[in-house]
């Protein structure tokens, strides 16, 4: 089987698997969020939390609950890391330094999972399981909750209620993430991923040196890391590590898990707004971007000119030979497009221009198909922007899903699209201007700029993947990136919830022949264009000085 055939085969397998899961999972998730009943376990949880699960919240209350929950999570995770040596299962690791502990806490609570530490030599099993793994679940559930609240804004009319945060959080975790994670863990273990509570085995290598082979609850971490588009690996090298991702088949399973919920959520959205075609349209825009970037990155990786690459037959530096170029490209495009940040190769080692494409993929705002929940609400916000401009061009006050897009909605949308680029550019700009942070750069020249830009792009889109190269475990990067992650996660979330509240308060307007149809290819094209143009225009100058300057030289 030629490389091209293999590459094509795995993409086709992936797409078929996603297509098969699309409707059942999407429909199931829709039912989860409109279900009137609570399970016995859920009732118990609500009683412990002191929550009335049948009381819907106004958007501001919903947002307050979410922020309070996240604040407590950051605090808890920080404490857990600092007190690590005094707790069981620490594997003898010391407490994590304050700046790194803050960075890690912010990172996992914001679903970023940026890791400035090396997993196997910093975190004990307790921190991994009761701290990081728990956040992997709940931070993902928070993302879905926000998306569902926004969808309720479209679905409901003349109400100030957008749902109950605690119910959405609990249901997302218990009814969606947990069952799939358990199932998928079994699959990964069957495929050879490690799952135990071992403190590591001391072995003597062939050359006579001694080496510690660490074990741990790897497979379960791995699954939720992908499923919740978290990305924080058990091991430093993340999904390139054979214990996390042993074979090309497990690799494909992991990519499938990355894309599963973000893709199926478009179905949930379609079902909940009562028009599944709208879901397909949003999915189509996501899919077009994903596909174009995949083709671009794969082609650039396969055809990179240069003596070394020629001898190796491909640009294999920084890539696992188990996976090769195509599977690495597939993983890279999927992980940067889902805000997951798991990696199975070093993105820094990709050819300069495809590195630029991965940067751009994050710069689009993580919408192809985006993180769990965040991808959907990010795309819906951009859809509102597209509808606004397109709606004017058909001579009406713009409407989306039978709700008017007025000044109030535009204000929230404008602030949303503004937040990420400004934070990313400012963070990168300041880091390049200060001498201290500049010293963390590994490679000089344009590639060094790409390293810093990647760090801020990754943190600034709650992606969490690392370019590699830049030493980010410094007080500056830990603090600034930690703040960046918190800011770009929660400011947009509050804006989206406000948008949900504003939309829910409106009445539905009837759809007529004069209404802009938002399920047709023309609109999908327009939406894709808006996504690409907004991000492209924002990041073109810096991409020109980084990856383009490097790639075109």
């Amino acid at each position: 089987m030629s490389d091209a055939t293999a590459a094509l085969l795995q993409v086709v397998t992936l797409l078929v698997a996603l297509a098969l899961a699309y409707r059942p999972l999407g429909d199931y998730m829709a039912r989860v969020y409109v279900d009137e009943h609570h399970t016995r376990i859920e009732r118990g949880l609500y009683r412990v939390m002191g929550v009335d699960p049948d009381a819907d919240q106004r958007w501001a209350v919903y947002a307050r609950s979410l922020l309070a929950f996240s604040f407590v999570s950051v605090l808890g995770l920080y404490t857990l890391q600092r007190l690590q040596p005094r707790l069981p299962l620490s594997l003898g690791f010391p407490g994590v330094a304050p700046d790194q502990a803050f960075n890690t806490a912010a990172s996992f609570v914001t679903n970023t999972n940026w890791q400035s530490y090396s997993g196997e030599s910093t975190m004990g099993h307790l921190t991994q399981m009761s701290g990081l793994a728990v956040q992997n679940f709940v931070s993902a559930a928070v993302g879905i909750a926000v998306a569902v609240a926004l969808v309720r804004g479209f679905r409901r009319a003349r109400t100030d209620r957008v749902g109950n945060f605690w119910v959405d959080l609990v249901r997302g975790t218990l009814r969606i993430l947990l069952p799939i994670a358990v199932l998928a863990t079994l699959v990964l273990v069957a495929l050879g991923a490690v799952q135990n509570l071992s403190a590591g085995i001391e072995v003597t290598t062939l050359t006579g040196q001694s080496q510690t082979i660490t074990g741990g609850p790897v497979a379960s971490q791995e699954v939720i890391k992908e499923l919740g588009t978290n990305g924080g690996g058990f091991y430093n090298v993340n999904a390139a590590h054979p214990f996390e991702n042993p074979t090309p088949v497990s690799n494909l399973v992991e990519v499938f898990l990355l894309l599963l919920i973000p893709v199926a959520l478009t179905r949930t959205f379609g079902v909940l707004v009562g028009d599944t075609r709208q879901g397909y349209a949003v999915l189509a825009a996501m899919g077009v971007i994903w596909a174009v970037l995949l083709v671009g990155v794969t082609a650039l990786e396969a055809s990179h000119p240069g003596t070394a690459f020629g001898l190796a037959g491909a640009s294999m530096e920084g890539k696992e030979t188990r996976f090769g170029e195509a599977a690495s490209s597939l993983f890279a495009v999927s992980t940067t497009g889902t805000s997951a940040g798991a990696v199975n190769s070093f993105h820094s080692s990709f050819t300069a221009v495809s590195g630029g494409l991965l940067l751009l993929n994050m710069g689009l705002g993580e919408v192809a198909p985006g993180g769990v929940g965040s991808g959907l609400y990010g795309m819906l916000v951009l859809a509102i922007l597209a509808v606004f401009v397109a709606g004017l061009m058909v001579g009406r006050t713009p409407e989306y899903l039978r709700k008017k897009i007025r000044a109030r909605e535009m204000k929230l949308v404008a602030l949303y699209i503004l937040t990420m680029p400004v934070v990313v550019l400012a963070g990168t700009g300041v880091s390049m201007a200060l001498p201290g942070p500049r010293e963390s750069i590994l490679n000089p020249g344009p590639h060094g700029l790409s390293e810093v830009l990647y760090a801020f792009m990754s943190a600034g889109n709650n992606n969490g993947s690392a370019f590699a190269g830049l030493s980010v475990d410094s007080a500056w990067y830990n603090t600034v990136l930690g703040l960046t992650m918190l800011f770009v996660r929660f400011v947009p979330i509050v804006l989206v919830l406000a948008l949900a509240g504003s939309l829910a308060g409106q009445q539905h307007v009837p759809a007529t022949a004069g209404t802009l149809p938002t399920h047709r290819p023309l609109f999908v094209g327009m939406l894709t264009g808006v996504v690409v143009v907004v991000a492209g225009l924002t990041f073109f100058p810096v991409l020109a000085l980084g990856p383009l300057a490097e790639g075109l030289s």
């Binding site: 000044a407 700009g429 390049m432 209404t515 907004v534």
Partner: protein
């Protein structure tokens, strides 16, 4: 005025608008002005041909934007000047309680005062005629020179201050405070003095401001990257980049588009009381149209002669014509016309018929007719009345007449029976004239158009449901409201609005006022009462209810123009990047010269060409902003496809061509090329 004159005469205004306190209302252009000031300082410090050229074009960009607004306002100002002339100071003859008169200045009048106006005098303020009837010259506001009749009671009672009474004497009750009258509001409107940003304009402004902030961030942070890369940029170049990226085209033209939209309405002799109403017009989902005068011609017309069995159709026509010769009502005239058209019967003058005695229509007899020489008497009129006359004159009407009469009624027409009585014989019914509403020409096509645009048309009529249905079907409206009372109309509007629909209607009577106020777009007829004009948010000076359809079009055109130019403006950025980024950095990274796809001569000429293009495109688009984007009613999908192609794709391509052409010129300037 030629376009060039208009530009020149607006220039002083454009320069006056450079005042930062004015500019700050337009965030995008305010950023450009700030950039221009900054560059000027830099050019003074480190002068060069390039720096001064950029500075000059940055200032021109701001001036061009102000020029667009000034030109748009200029057109209104000319109109306002004409209106002001109508606002001459007049002395009012106020009536005291006891009926005697006193002279007071028009500005001292109070609401509720009664004033007397006689032939040749100017009406001192807006009000309603409470006594008398007069012909009034309203050309000052409508531009229409034919005088109109204003009378107390009914729906033609309102008069406007500043118009002149041509005949008779009327007593007017003042309804508006001096200085807040119709003409005052009109002047404020056309001058744009009372112009406030409309909801949609505000939403667009927010979007443009946020894009500006994003591009500001992209430009400001570019410097540390450039320094790191060893390619530090001069501030002038960064300002040039910023100005090229931020949406200056739409930012410059936005307010001109809004003013021009209002102005287009004024050209159609419609006054919108707010820009909000114009925008709402574009969003209308349901149009309520009065049947009479809007859908049908004002009066019913004869459409057919139905002879009773055995009577020559020509004889019926002839009898009908004879009986209508002296009938000057539109119905009577239409019978004569139909007889000529269908039966070639020459119209006979009443004078030709010697010894003829014409019988006038009265409310009691409900018949009219003629008594001819030789004892021949012809009558025509309402079925019951004529049948009674036949019986009284010894005739025995057959069942057949009743059947014809019923058939015409069912079809929505009005039957008039024609009968004759010859001396000596019994009277007999000859036939029936069918009168019906004549739907105005081209209405069906317009309603089809509306349907394609997603607008539902509802006909409002006092007719019975049967008649209403027949006319609704003929005219092609989507729905009708028969036997409509003002309450029904109000209920219909509320029901539509409950469903989230925007409703537009026209009205003129006082009993229309609540509905006009409730409707999202209420167009009052200028001939109507002041209560109606007060309640509506637009006034049609021509009092032509059909104009509602045009108003919807103008509202849509306004939004389309905004959307299209926004798309164009943002699409332009692609080419500007390809001009400026290689120019900034290809010195350090030679590879980036591959991005210079336009092959622009030098970095300086590339940057300058982009700035010049950016400024010139504003001027080039002023006519489009004022005229509005071409608008033809069609479905939303078709409209989007067209506008996206022209302004989206066109917006990407045009600057590549434009900047390249400018570069060919600019690169010849010494010190730049």
């Amino acid at each position: 005025m030629t376009p060039l004159h208009l530009l020149a005469s607006s220039l002083p205004d454009a320069l006056r608008k450079l005042d930062p306190r004015t500019m700050v209302r337009h965030p995008v252009m305010f950023v450009v002005e700030t950039g221009a000031v900054l560059s000027t300082v830099l050019a003074v410090t480190v002068p060069s041909t390039f720096a001064w050229s950029v500075v000059a074009w940055l200032w021109l960009t701001v001036v061009f934007a102000n020029l667009a607004e000034a030109v748009a306002e200029g057109r209104g100002k000319a109109q306002a000047a004409t209106l002001r002339r109508a606002k001459t100071e007049t002395v009012a003859r106020r009536l005291r309680e006891d009926g005697s008169e006193e002279q007071v200045g028009a500005p001292d009048l109070l609401v509720g005062d009664h004033v007397v106006v006689e032939a040749g005098q100017i009406i001192p303020g807006d009000g309603d005629v409470v006594e008398g009837i007069a012909s009034v010259d309203e050309s000052a506001i409508t531009g229409e020179s034919a005088p109109v009749i204003r009378e107390s009671g009914g729906d033609r009672s309102s008069v406007t201050g500043g118009t002149r009474v041509l005949s008779d004497r009327i007593v007017v009750r003042i309804t508006a405070k001096p200085g807040e009258g119709f003409i005052d509001r009109m002047i404020a409107l056309v001058e744009g003095a009372s112009r406030q940003k409309t909801p949609n304009e505000i939403a667009l402004d927010i979007l443009l401001a946020s894009l500006t902030v994003i591009f500001l961030a992209a430009t400001v942070t570019l410097q540390p990257f450039a320094i790191y890369s060893g390619a530090e940029q001069s501030l002038i170049v960064l300002v040039a980049l910023l100005v090229c990226l931020i949406p200056t085209t739409i930012g410059a033209l936005l307010s001109a588009i809004g003013i021009a939209g209002m102005d287009r309405l004024v050209q159609h002799n419609v006054l919108a009381m707010s820009g909000r109403a114009v925008e709402a017009a574009g969003d209308v989902d349901t149009l309520l149209l009065d049947k009479t005068g809007t859908i049908t011609l004002g009066n019913r017309q004869a459409s057919e002669f139905h002879p009773v069995d055995g009577v020559d159709p020509r004889a019926v026509a002839s009898a009908a014509q004879l009986s209508s010769l002296a009938d000057e009502t539109p119905e009577g005239r239409s019978i004569v016309v139909l007889a000529k058209r269908d039966h070639g019967l020459r119209e006979r003058r009443p004078g030709e018929l010697t010894h003829a005695h014409f019988v006038e229509f009265t409310a009691q007899t409900r018949m009219s007719g003629v008594d001819l020489d030789g004892g021949r008497r012809i009558r025509k009129g309402a079925a019951a009345a004529v049948m009674k006359w036949v019986r009284e004159n010894g005739g025995h009407p057959t069942e057949e007449v009743g059947a014809i009469v019923d058939a015409i009624s069912t079809a929505g027409g009005t039957p008039l029976v024609v009968a004759e009585h010859l001396d000596g014989g019994p009277a007999r019914a000859l036939g029936v004239i069918g009168l019906k509403d004549i739907v105005k020409e081209g209405m069906r096509e317009r309603f089809d158009e509306m349907r394609r645009m997603g607008i539902r048309t509802v006909m409002i009529t006092g007719d019975n449901p049967l008649t209403a249905r027949a006319i609704a079907e003929e005219a092609g409206v989507d729905d009708f409201l028969a036997e409509a009372t003002p309450e029904d109309k109000m209920a219909l509007i509320k029901r539509e609005q409950e469903g989230g629909r925007l409703v537009a209607m026209t009205g003129d009577g006082t009993n229309d006022a609540p509905a006009l106020a409730q409707a999202d777009v209420g167009v009052a007829m200028n001939s109507g009462t002041s209560a109606a004009k007060e309640a509506g948010n637009m006034v049609d000076l021509d009092s032509n209810p059909t104009k509602l359809i045009e108003i919807v079009g103008i509202g849509k055109q306004l939004l389309i123009t905004r959307g299209s130019l926004t798309t164009f403006s943002i699409a332009n950025d692609v080419a500007k990047y390809f001009a400026i980024i290689p120019a900034m950095f290809s010195g350090v990274f030679v590879g980036l010269d591959t991005l210079n796809v336009m092959r622009l001569a030098t970095p300086q000429s590339a940057i300058l060409s982009a700035v010049v293009f950016n400024a010139l495109v504003i001027v080039a688009l002023i006519p489009l902003a004022l005229r509005g984007v071409r608008y033809r009613p069609s479905s939303a999908a078709a409209m989007l496809r067209r506008n996206l192609t022209v302004y989206g794709l066109g917006g990407v391509v045009a600057p590549f061509v434009g900047i390249k052409l400018l570069d060919l010129l600019v690169s010849r300037i010494p010190g730049i090329g």
